[in-house]
Structures are given as structure tokens and as C-alpha cells.
Symmetry: C2
Subunit: 443 residues, 2 copies
């Protein structure tokens, strides 16, 4: 607990590739191919640990990205990279992305449980359904299944995984028995799952670990995604671009949680946050333009208009954006979360096109300014109690993470919003999320 008697503000940090900025691979003074160097990730992890950040995050698609000029994202497999980092860096958690579309429940349950043991209870599984057709083509599928099928499969997958995670109680009372038996059919139960997508006998060959089993994270923004998050997620990192939008989204998800019989307070919201920090606000704004390859605000605004075209066509920089221009399109194939975030912010406040171009980066919320500006922004959000923390996406790794840990984190600690150490052993304890008594059954 903080001095204010609240749970500390959660801060996770994304460590994909060379940073969150598309041009981060070309940052001066750093090798372009550091995304293939383990020591690069280790350095980022150690910086994050020195600031007592809560967890490292890696998003993932098992395919080579189409854009061959942007930072080379999604190369090293997150399971492998995080297993290595867990052996080198103590305390910090690992928010690990793995697809329910392209793994099998037994292997993934076992791999996550193994890492949860080895790390001492520091794993969060970010369960994604994968919307990328190139991924489907790497796994024998001619086309991407539709969103409804993807989420139906995801929900069955996660239910099977949780059943497997609690299928073998290796330290059950009375074991090992005097006759030398390490388990029996009661302490190691078959789950005998026979569902639409999966047929899994069990039990799992790895018993529960220090935090029981891993936490579940989700970012769903579609109707299916929000329902899925309400049903399964412990941690949600959906993009939320204003406090008003965050209020609406978190309340929607908590309602779904309640409808699924869960405690609506048992979910932690940690939306994405992209800090662009410099010594003055003006310098930070210039840096923001340069990070995207622009030489001024006009060019920055033009890029946003082109990217969302035709939604914002014809607007001037000072025009307030009519939210209906950003309303989600039914049948959208890609991820709905980022589209919805734009729509929600325009509904929750009068935002001009110029402000919108400074509000989000790669879909997540931007905060541009001095370290004090960033601290003020984070504390303003924290004071409302609407979210529990943030998932940082630093423009250039590892340098911007160093800057954040050196300049922003100590101010948050002094303000009583963060601790400068790790008081709990497992991530479940740190996030105050007790293990559910019951394993979910398929409905």
C-alpha cells in the first residue's frame, strides 16, 4: 500500500523491438539490429527493474510484418525471451502474449505454468485471438476465421487452460503417500474436455505454482472482446484516450464481469501510454513530430487524416471532431480497440483535429511534455481512480525507458503513488487479485 492507503499505481513497460516508434530502429547511437540481441532486452528489463516497474509486456504476431521500413516488431518469441529474462531479472512480472488461435491448450498451459514456477509467480498471459491473415497462412489456414469464431475458440481455450492449471495438486495433503505414490486419480484429475474446438484429456503434468496460476490479460475493444475481457481478464490494457472514455469503458467491462458472476472490482485497468519527454514542452512536441518522420505539426496532422481516411477528410486543424465521423464500421476485420478509442474520446470531450493528432500514438494515449508534465498527467488520472495504472510504450528503447525511470518514476514515488521496491513476491499479490476458488466451467 502507498502512504495514501491505496494500491500503488501500476506501471508496466512494453519492450517490443527497438521501441514503440516506427523509426526507433534507426535511433542514433544504437545498432539497428539490436532487436536480435538478447542483451538489448536484458538492458531494458534491468532498467525497468531498477524503477520497480510491475511487469514487462511484449505484444506478438507469429509472422514477419508486412511493412519493411518500420521497426522490426514480433521477431523473438515472447515465451522464450521472457523465460530467459525471468532467469536474469528478479521481481518484475512478464505480460506475455500468446494466441488462442495458433497454440494448443495443453502445450501453452504447460509452458506458462512452467514459467510461472521458474519465475516465482510473475506471469500474466495476454490472450489474443490474432487478427492477422499472414499469421493464419503460417498455420495452415487459408483465411482468417471471423471474430465471433475467434472469440468462441478463445473462450473455450482459456477455460481448458484454467482447468489444466488446477488439475494436479502435487502437494495435496497426504502426498507423497506412505506407499510411495506421488498422486492418485483425485489429486491428479483428468479434465476430459470434449468441446467444439478442443479435446483434452489431462491432467496437466505441471501443478500450480507460487501464485496458483498466471493472471490473464486482454485488450478487447469489440463487443466480443469486451465480453471476453469481462469474463476472463484480470488485467486490461485497452487504449483509453480520455478520462471520460475510460469511465465509460471500465464501467462497461465491470458490468460484463458482474453478468458473468465475477466480482467487478477484480479487474485492473492499465491502458497504454506513450510518453514523449523533453526538457521543455515545445521540445517534446518537436520530438513527437520527428519520431514520426515529420518536420512540423501540419505534416503530423496530415498523416492522421490520411491514416483514418475518409473519416476526417476536409477538417481543418482547429475544427472540433464530430464523433460520428469516427463511429466503428460494422464488420471491421482488424482490431476494434483502436478505432473505438478514437470514437470514445471524441464523444467524451470536444477535441480538435490538432489535439487528436497529439492525443494518440499507434492507437495508445500520448502524453507530451516535461517530466513534471507527465507526472501531473499520471497523477490526474490516478486521482480519479478510474484506472489502476498504465502500460508504457516508450518511443525508443532502451533510452526512453531510462529517461522515464530516472525522471518520472522518482517523482511518482515522492508523490506517494508508487513504491520504490517490490514488497510482494508474486504478481497476483502485488495486483491484489486473489486466486479464484473455482475453476471456470464451460457454459
Amino acid at each position: 500500500m502507498t502512504t495514501a492507503g491505496r494500491r500503488p499505481l501500476i506501471l508496466n513497460a512494453g519492450i517490443n523491438s527497438t521501441g514503440y516508434s516506427a523509426k526507433s530502429w534507426r535511433a542514433e547511437g544504437r545498432p539497428w539490429d539490436r532487436f536480435l540481441d538478447y542483451d538489448h532486452y536484458l538492458e531494458a528489463a534491468e532498467i525497468a527493474h531498477s524503477g520497480a516497474l510491475d511487469a514487462l509486456f511484449i505484444s506478438d504476431h507469429p509472422a514477419l510484418q508486412r511493412d519493411n521500413t518500420s521497426r522490426p516488431i514480433h521477431s523473438f518469441d515472447p515465451l522464450i525471451l521472457f523465460s530467459a529474462l525471468a532467469a536474469n531479472v528478479p521481481d518484475i512480472g512478464f505480460l506475455l502474449t500468446a494466441s488462442t488461435g495458433y497454440n494448443s491448450p495443453y502445450n501453452l498451459a504447460r509452458r506458462l505454468a512452467t514459467l510461472d514456477h521458474i519465475s516465482g509467480g510473475r506471469v500474466v498471459w495476454n490472450a489474443v485471438t490474432s487478427f492477422n491473415p499472414d499469421v493464419a497462412a503460417n498455420f495452415g489456414r487459408d483465411s482468417l476465421p471471423d471474430r465471433v469464431e475467434r472469440y468462441r475458440r478463445a473462450s473455450e481455450f482459456i477455460t481448458v487452460v484454467k482447468q489444466l492449471w488446477s488439475s494436479w495438486d502435487a502437494r495435496a495433503e497426504g502426498f507423497p503417500r506412505a506407499d510411495g505414490a506421488l498422486w492418485d486419480d483425485a489429486s491428479a484429475r483428468r479434465i476430459a474436455h470434449d468441446g467444439e474446438f478442443f479435446h483434452v484429456q489431462g491432467p496437466l503434468n505441471v501443478p500450480p505454482g507460487p501464485q496458483g496460476y498466471p493472471l490473464i490479460a486482454q485488450a478487447g475493444g469489440s463487443e466480443q472482446g469486451i465480453d471476453f475481457a469481462g469474463r476472463h481478464a484480470d488485467l486490461i490494457y485497452a487504449p483509453l484516450l480520455s478520462i471520460g472514455a475510460a469511465r465509460g469503458y471500465t464501467s462497461d467491462v465491470r458490468e460484463r464481469a458482474l453478468a458473468h458472476g465475477r466480482d467487478p472490482q477484480s479487474i485492473r485497468f492499465v491502458p497504454g501510454l506513450v510518453p514523449v519527454i523533453a526538457e521543455t514542452k515545445a521540445q517534446a512536441r518537436t520530438l513527437h513530430e520527428r519520431l514520426n518522420g515529420h518536420d512540423g505539426e501540419e505534416s503530423l496532422i496530415g498523416a492522421l487524416v490520411r491514416r483514418l481516411s475518409p473519416a476526417l477528410d476536409g477538417l481543418a486543424a482547429h475544427d472540433v471532431v464530430d464523433p460520428e465521423r469516427l463511429a466503428p464500421v460494422p464488420g471491421q476485420r482488424g482490431p476494434v480497440g483502436f478505432t473505438r478509442a478514437f470514437y470514445d474520446v471524441a464523444r467524451s470531450e470536444r477535441i480538435t483535429l490538432r489535439e487528436l493528432a497529439r492525443r494518440s500514438e499507434g492507437g495508445h494515449r500520448l502524453v507530451i511534455g516535461t517530466p513534471d508534465d507527465v507526472v501531473a498527467d499520471l497523477l490526474e488520472w490516478w486521482d480519479t481512480g478510474v484506472v489502476d495504472g498504465f502500460t508504457l510504450q516508450l518511443p525508443v528503447l532502451p533510452d526512453d525507458l531510462r529517461l522515464f525511470v530516472d525522471e518520472v518514476v522518482p517523482r511518482l514515488v515522492r508523490a506517494g503513488a508508487r513504491l520504490d521496491h517490490y514488497p510482494q513476491r508474486t504478481l497476483r499479490e502485488r495486483f491484489d487479485l486473489p486466486l479464484a476458488e473455482n475453476t471456470p466451467q464451460l457454459t
Copy 2:
């Protein structure tokens, strides 16, 4: 090279569970549940590293074993455990088992390639087809596919994996291009594999690492397995119970390699070896009995007869075993390698039932005696040049590995058969196995 100008004797060490002995989980002075403790594996790995052993080995089945009184084997997932150990222990290799039956080529190729990068080129993939029906039932299969189908799938799997491993040359000349492109369709090629079992587009999102790509290990003993090993394996750890049997087996495999267009000398044979070491030979023999829960040689022999029944029924301890009693049964479902090893040893020498009971443990070759006895045995094999080294299976971990490293390894170094350090960076260099120029095509 050794002082004798030869490649040093290869020594790998199995580190499954609590040791190779079925009763190893109950060893005095060690917690029974150390198979769930990362530090247990780390201690074993560090001992092996202190003896400059070449690689650690973990066999695997993704299922809880049926026998609930034997050491709890195959719990932690090898990919995860070895990724953590690679971050903590330098130099030593990782001989990692993963099934071609229950993984997808893209994920596995990517995970192994990632570990190969992170470890600096220290990965060997032990490609197994999995013969355990409980595994099939954990992955949605009602029954185990037959051996012919399993090996057909394995061969297609491994060919796809090798194509993926060489599909993206991230450091191709001219990249990154002046226009900012990190690759093009020539340096990152689709493999567009469309086969019987797999349909994979590619390219892989991880380029080749320090040793190009991982080595391949195999243990096949069946006709299909030997052909597969001759076609794909760099390292073979099949059980070989006598020098004569080893001569026959290695020459069979090299013939198959030649038939598949490979250099027959590009395969390293490292059969299993179970050392049971004590201060005197008599004490070592008693220890061997006790490790199996027997109180004398008679009980030990009786157990072998029961295990192979009816093959050896009615034989007395001093009777020479007629090899025809041990001839493989057509249509055998389980692994053929261990059965074949018994057959081959009885064909290659006149062996009594008593000697046979002291010749193998869990299928692999036993050597029972003082450290000097073990050294003499290893040097005798090494002098023949028939095999390249051994895959050690120590009865109780980590203690028997410590004993081996302290008492046997220094004598082998003094005899000029081993080095006491790691002169090469990658395992491929250490085993003198140049990367093939061409990626195999499906035939």
C-alpha cells in the same frame, strides 16, 4: 582438438527430474519435490558446466506419466526450462526434446531459433514423434497415429522447419537499404509449403543466428527411425549396449545418410550411458541393486526377466542369452530402440542373463564400478572410434552428476580425451558440423 589431434569425446548429461533412477525422488538429503524447483536444475547445469560438459539433455512427453511411484519425469516444459538455463549458464549446449506430432512448424521453428539467438548458438533440437497414447489424448487425437505416419509427418515437419530457419537473411548484403527497407522479397522469402500435413507460408520472423540454425538430434531405432536419423540427424543418442552392436548400428545409419545424399561422417553418435559409481566395484554393484529397490542380484535378474517376459522366461543367471529370444516383434507400438539394443548386444557377443541384467538401465548402457573403471570403459570405447561420445544419465541428481564431474571428468582430461574448457562459441563448431549449404527440399 585434443592432444591426440582428435575431436574430444562428447559428453552430454540428462537432467530430467530427480535423476535417471526410478527411486531418485526419494534420495536421502534431497527434497522429493525438487523436480519443481528451478534451482535444482540450475545446480545440475552449473555442475555440468564446471566439468565443461557439452550439452544438457531433457527428454519429454507432454502428459502426466502413468506410473505414480517412479520419479516424476516430464513436468517442466523443456523449451521454458532451457531458455531460463541458457540465460544463467554460459557455454553449455541444450539438447531439447520437442515433438513433431504436437507442435506446429512455425511456432517451433521460431521458438528454437529464438533460443539459438539468445544462447549464442547452443541449441540441438531432439525431434521425436511421440509414441505415448496419453499424449495423443491431450491434443485431440483419439488414438496414436501409426509409426509410418508419425515419421512421414516428422520428416515433413523438419523439412519445413529448416526451410523456415533459412527463409529470412536479415543481414543480407545491401540491407538495410538506403531507402530504409529492412528486407525485400528476395532476402525474406515465402516458403509457400503445401504438403500432406502442413501448409505454411513464411517467411519466419526470426533470421538465422550465431550457428546458422540449431542442430538436429534423433534416437530412432525402428526401420523408419534409422532412415529418418540418416536423413536428418546431426546427433544420435540411440541406446548401444556393446561396441559390436555400436559398429553395426552406426554403419547402418551412415549408409542411410549416404543414400540421402549426405556426408556419412557428418553425424555424431552419443549413445546413452548410465554410470553407477562407488569406491569399490562391489559397492557399485550393491548400489546398482539398491537404486532399483532390490536387495541382491537375484532380485535384479528376476525383475529383468519379468520386464521382458516371455522372452527370457526359464533362463538361469549363468545361461547365455540366445539373441532370437530378443528379436523385435513386428508391429511393436512402443519405441523400438530399446528392444533393438537388447537384441543387438546378444547378437554381438555371448552374454549371460546375469551380465545382461548389469548391462543396461532403463534401456541405456550401464557402467558399474570405481571412477577408474568408468574411465577405462569410456576410453576403451573412445579408442575404437565407433562412437563420438556419450549422453550421461545419472542415477540421482544432482549428486551423481557432481561425483562424475569431480571423479571421472578430470581423469578423461588427463588422458587427453577431453578438454577442461570450451574453446568454441557455438555447439555446431564444437561438434565440427558445418552448416549444410542447402536447405533440404521435400522429396
